[in-house]
């Protein structure tokens, strides 16, 4: 992928960002007989690769994993660095391996005299933890919509599993934007919407009432502005559902809204109540006699395994409520109409309440309190994540406002933190005169980028203290 072309010493260089070369899923216990090696492969991307090459690549991975196991039986290799690419190995379930091969970023320098250009691979630009996290995310997302590999094997044998993998990853891999993966993928955090107690309690009350009236609903999640406010799901399930909602479902639906194409204010005939509620999953128009009442199904963990649920996502203005209902129940037009009639007006009201509250708070806190810092904050305990570096996510890309070099430094500091349990602080002066500060206190991590060319170490330290005092004064964060 060509993303940047820059002039350097009079010659035009082409820079290539990291890209996906291969992605495959295999199980070494399948097709163990000579000549049946292909049976090990459950999914292979790109699919047009010649069969023998597939078998060779899978075999190589198998060998590497086996080989490294001799050194540490419990922790086989996680990645393999080569000049041209980097491979990531992940065994999410016993004997099921997912392998992702990423081509290293590279610079292509044209040569004189019509010689082919020289390619320079930037082997050190890729961070293991970032792409390792991406592979895990791929699996989690698959599992969210399909359940475990093992479940499919039980349900329909290897044929079903292959079919499901094909169906899921064919589309999912197209949405992977490896060039914009960074520290946030490592965290896989959740952005929470800041809210006052009273409005929060109102939302609680709303959720409880809806769950009581429509007793089919087992779990509810509530979001505003793509940020989470309430989750009835457990943390790990919410984490991946949140990822799906904010990087896939919401962006897909916000674009027509932004374009002003559908103005979904609907006059309700019966109660004569106006509301903005609509289904983001399931039927697009309830009034349509042909409407289908099919919703995506998701799998979440329970005390003893997994349960399958319908995922109803219903949105009114910026407020979105996800209702989850056991998949064993068939959802009918009646139910959807009931939900629409009950939730639509209430959610519209709540959305405007929250919006009002939000603007009031904005006004109180004032623009001067807006941070001049660029920072990323993450709390491992509640997965809360906050970034002033990242722009709003869209379906296609996740934009950052800082140079990739700085993002790389953040990733490196994070790797350092991961190695020890102790609280730490790392201050780095980047080549570009930026200061990068990483702090770890208990389960929290904070990364700050300061653009103060002439500041010294002490001043930078003071500056970060100040930031903590204003931005994080309500949490215990050691200086």
């Amino acid at each position: 992928v060509l993303t940047a072309a820059r002039m350097a010493s009079g010659m035009q260089e082409k820079q290539y960002t990291p890209s996906l070369l291969n992605f495959f899923v295999y199980n070494p216990t399948f097709g163990q007989k000579e000549g049946e090696e292909e049976k090990k492969i459950l999914f292979y991307h790109p699919s047009d690769v010649e069969k023998n090459e597939k078998i060779r690549n899978v075999g190589l991975c198998e060998a590497i994993v086996q080989f490294t196991r001799t050194f540490c039986p419990t922790k086989p290799a996680k990645s393999l660095h080569t000049q041209k690419n980097r491979q990531f190995f992940f065994e999410p379930e016993d004997n099921f391996w997912i392998v992702m091969v990423v081509r290293n970023p590279m610079i292509e320098k044209p040569n004189k005299d019509g010689k082919p250009p020289t390619v320079e691979y930037q082997e050190e630009e890729i961070i293991d933890t970032v792409y390792g996290a991406v592979v895990k995310q791929c699996y989690s997302m698959y599992k969210l919509f399909n359940g475990t590999f093992g479940r499919q094997m039980e349900a329909g044998g290897v044929e079903l599993l292959i079919q499901k993998l094909e169906k899921f990853f064919y589309r999912y891999l197209q949405t992977l934007h490896l060039q914009s993966c960074d520290l946030l993928d490592v965290f896989g955090g959740i952005s929470f919407f800041p809210l006052d107690k009273m409005t929060y309690l109102k939302i609680q009350s709303f959720v409880n009432r809806v769950e009581e009236s429509l007793s089919l609903i087992k779990y509810t999640a509530f979001l505003y502005n793509d940020q989470l406010i309430w989750s009835g799901l457990e943390q790990d399930d919410m984490r991946i559902l949140y990822k799906y909602l904010t990087t896939s479902l919401f962006p897909r639906h916000s674009e027509p809204e932004l374009a002003g194409r559908d103005s979904p204010l609907r006059p309700e005939v019966a109660g004569n109540l106006l509301h903005y509620g609509r289904f983001l999953t399931g039927p697009t128009n309830l009034k349509d006699p042909e409407a289908k009442f099919r919703f995506p199904k998701i799998f979440v963990s329970t005390e003893d395994g997994y349960e399958e649920l319908h995922l109803i996502v219903y949105k009114a203005m910026s407020a979105a409520a996800c209702f989850m209902i056991s998949a064993s129940v068939e959802l009918t037009r009646d139910f959807c109409e009931q939900l629409d009639g009950l939730v639509g007006p209430q959610l519209t009201l709540l959305a405007s309440d929250i919006c009002e509250q939000f603007t009031v708070n904005r006004r109180i806190s004032g623009p001067e309190k807006e941070p001049q810092f660029k920072f990323i904050y993450f709390n491992h305990m509640n997965l809360a994540e906050k970034s002033t570096i990242h722009m709003r996510k869209t379906a296609s890309v996740c934009l950052t406002s800082v140079h990739p070099d700085l993002m790389k430094i953040l990733g490196d500091i994070n790797c350092d933190f991961a190695r020890v349990d102790e609280d730490e602080e790392i201050i780095v002066k980047a080549m570009t005169d930026y200061w990068v500060v990483g702090k770890k206190s208990d389960q929290r991590e904070l990364y700050v980028i300061l653009n103060q060319k002439n500041a010294n170490l002490i001043e930078v330290n003071e500056e970060v203290k100040r930031l903590c005092a204003t931005q994080f004064n309500n949490i215990f964060f050691l200086d």
Binding site: K197, L478, D479
Partner: protein, 638 residues
């Protein structure tokens, strides 16, 4: 049943009790016993029943019943509202007694034997203080408010009230503005059309009202109604409320607990009206009965005295008898049986009769003895109610609770600021039973509810959160025990993530006890530790606790850095830190901490040594053992 106020003996009619009918009656009543929301008091005033030789009189002002035997010659027995005020005496029989009364405090007795003269047996004289000349059809006097109402004009429907003020030695009488009662039909030619029986005076919610029982007329209103005229001390009397009776016949009125009770004789039932209860379906101030018509709870006359035969059951008393006399506000007298009862409202049956729980709460919150009934309504709605109903009930309770708290607060403020000139001393707000506070709710409703079997924990938590939401909505500070209950319930059902989210949004407000509770949860839910520390930090008064927590986690450097950052380094106990540092077994850590305190000592006292009071001797020895004497900061290095 009559509402006769003529100064004549109460009904002396002896009726043969119709046993058969009574028996049936009673059976029927027992079937729906739960529905009787009115009852006669258990301890009626008992007197000798009216007969040919015994005349009975009632004085509304003193609430005394006079039983006059043989014109007083064989004795007069006076019974007041309580046993102590009973008086007995004799007087000469000088003819039929038309009326007999005591003055306040039983000081002066007045007897009326002829139409136009009153005898004061003690031969005292009366003095005319003031006179007014008006043509009067009839009059009524309300002892509670000391207001006299005169019926004037030919039709009798122009009422002229007078207010009396009695002070020691003197009194005043002032004319209030007169008003006209709207008659259903204007008779032609004009004749007296407003009967004394159809007018009663009462105090409802602290306001004086003239109640007019407006009978149906063929032309306009098909059923009877009670029209209330508000009679302010100053200003104009206005028609303010219309109570729809939806039937016709003979009625009598009582006021009980600020409710207007309308007895209907032919159906032997009563209705109650609450003028503060707004009717959404009716025009302003038109009221329908709060509850469906029910009879007064069956009453049995206890057989007292030595003649009582144990096997003989008490005799059922005929309710709504035509010999009953009804007096304001809440008195019913049966002269023929010799009883004076106070009418009472029984609240428990109303709970099932009033389906609209919001309306029920409005109704109950204005009643005197409401607390236990309200709490039982809360428990019930917790059991089988729906959340919106539960929410309405909580909101209504907390509205009253908040009003009380505010009154209390401004009272305290007024008391603290001392007496101010020109304003009366602050009055402590009265805490009525309608004030249901958090501990009432906790003890009687919420805590038992969380332990109830067969209720989903989801619903329990929803109810608890709804209560907390309601308290917050009324800006009432939530008390710790409620948070504790929420946490206990969540922990019991393993809903830690839910708890985490509540804390994240500060739904459970910060406090030291809460932080400590969270700390205790750490072993079952690790993030509780962080939540607790955050809370202690926000409290900003819990720095010592934070240090303790960190030290207990062997985070000695963290504790040291923290206490420095909040400026408490100079005052902390060095021994505590050294103990903790030594316990970690980390020698370098011990070295660092030890040296840091030596530096502190140097800075504070000019010498690195520890004071004897700090009890650090053993740590000094330990330090020397580990690192040698030379590692100590020497005093000379200043």
């Amino acid at each position: 049943m009559s509402e006769d106020r003529e100064e004549r003996p109460l009904d002396r009619e002896e009726r043969p009790p119709d046993r058969e009918e009574h028996y049936l009656d009673r059976e029927e009543h027992y079937l729906d016993r739960e529905e009787h929301y009115l009852e006669l008091c258990e301890n009626p005033v008992q007197f000798e029943n009216a007969s040919s030789v015994n005349n009975v009189f009632f004085d509304e002002a003193n609430k005394q019943v006079f039983a006059v035997r043989s014109g007083g010659a064989t004795g007069v027995v006076v019974k007041g509202p309580d046993d102590k005020s009973s008086v007995a005496f004799r007087m000469d029989d000088r003819g039929e007694v038309k009326c007999i009364k005591f003055s306040i405090g039983n000081k002066i007795l007045a007897v009326q034997r002829t139409l136009k003269s009153v005898v004061l047996p003690d031969k005292r004289s009366l003095k005319q203080l003031k006179s007014q000349s008006i043509n009067v059809n009839w009059y009524q006097f309300c002892p509670e408010t000391a207001v006299l109402l005169l019926s004037t004009t030919v039709q009798g429907n122009v009422l002229q009230p007078f207010a009396f003020k009695v002070r020691a030695g003197s009194g005043t009488m002032s004319k209030m503005s007169k008003f006209e009662i709207e008659l259903p039909v204007v008779p032609k030619p004009a004749k007296l059309s407003l009967s004394e029986r159809d007018i009663a005076m009462a105090t409802i919610y602290g306001q004086m009202f003239v109640m007019y029982l407006k009978h149906h007329s063929r032309t306009n209103s098909p059923t009877a109604e009670v029209v209330l005229y508000h009679l302010p001390r100053e200003g104009v009397c206005k028609k303010t409320h219309v109570l729809k009776l939806n039937t016709t016949g003979k009625f009598a009125l009582n006021i009980v607990d600020n409710l207007v009770v309308v007895h209907h004789q032919s159906s032997q039932t009563s209705l109650i009206f609450d003028i503060k209860l707004k009717e959404p379906d009716c025009a302003v101030n038109t009221h329908q009965p709060v509850l469906p018509a029910r009879s007064i709870h069956p009453y049995r006359i206890p057989l007292a005295g030595p003649a009582v035969v144990p096997s003989q059951p008490p005799i059922p008393c005929q309710l709504y008898s035509s010999s009953w006399s009804v007096f304001q506000p809440d008195i019913i007298i049966s002269a023929s049986e010799g009883y004076l009862w106070y009418l009472q409202v029984k609240l428990p049956p109303t709970v099932n009769l009033l389906q609209d729980k919001g309306k029920l709460m409005d109704f109950l919150l204005r009643r005197r003895e409401c607390k236990m009934v309200i709490l039982s309504v809360c428990s019930q709605s917790g059991e089988k109610g729906r959340l919106p109903i539960v929410a309405t009930v909580f909101d209504k309770l907390n509205q009253v609770y908040k009003e009380y708290l505010e009154a209390e607060q401004s009272y305290t403020a007024a008391v603290e600021s001392g007496p101010s000139r020109g304003s009366a001393a602050p009055k402590r707000p009265v805490r009525t039973q309608a004030v249901v506070d958090q501990s009432d709710m906790y003890t009687h409703v919420l805590s038992p509810f969380t332990e109830r079997k067969g209720v989903s924990h989801k619903f329990i938590i929803a109810v608890l959160m709804e209560y907390i939401r309601s308290l917050n909505q009324f800006q009432i500070t939530v008390q710790h025990f409620l948070y504790e209950l929420v946490i206990k319930t969540l922990v019991q059902h393993g809903r830690f993530y839910m708890l985490h989210q509540f804390l994240q949004y500060h739904v459970l407000s910060d406090s030291k006890p809460l932080a400590c509770l969270l700390l205790s949860l750490e072993s079952t839910y690790a993030p509780a530790h962080q939540l607790s520390l955050d809370m202690l930090k926000r409290l900003s008064t819990a720095n010592d606790e934070i240090v303790e927590v960190l030290l207990s986690k062997q985070q000695v450097l963290g504790a040291l850095r923290f206490i420095r950052s909040v400026g408490g380094h100079d005052n902390v106990s060095s021994r505590k830190f050294l103990d903790a540092a030594r316990q970690t077994g980390d020698q370098m850590l011990f070295y660092t901490v030890f040296r840091s305190f030596q530096q502190r000592n140097q800075r504070l006292r000019g010498s690195p040594g520890f004071n004897p009071g700090e009890h650090c001797e053993e740590h000094v020895v330990h330090f020397k053992q580990l690192f040698g004497d030379q590692a100590l900061i020497k005093p000379s290095t200043v």
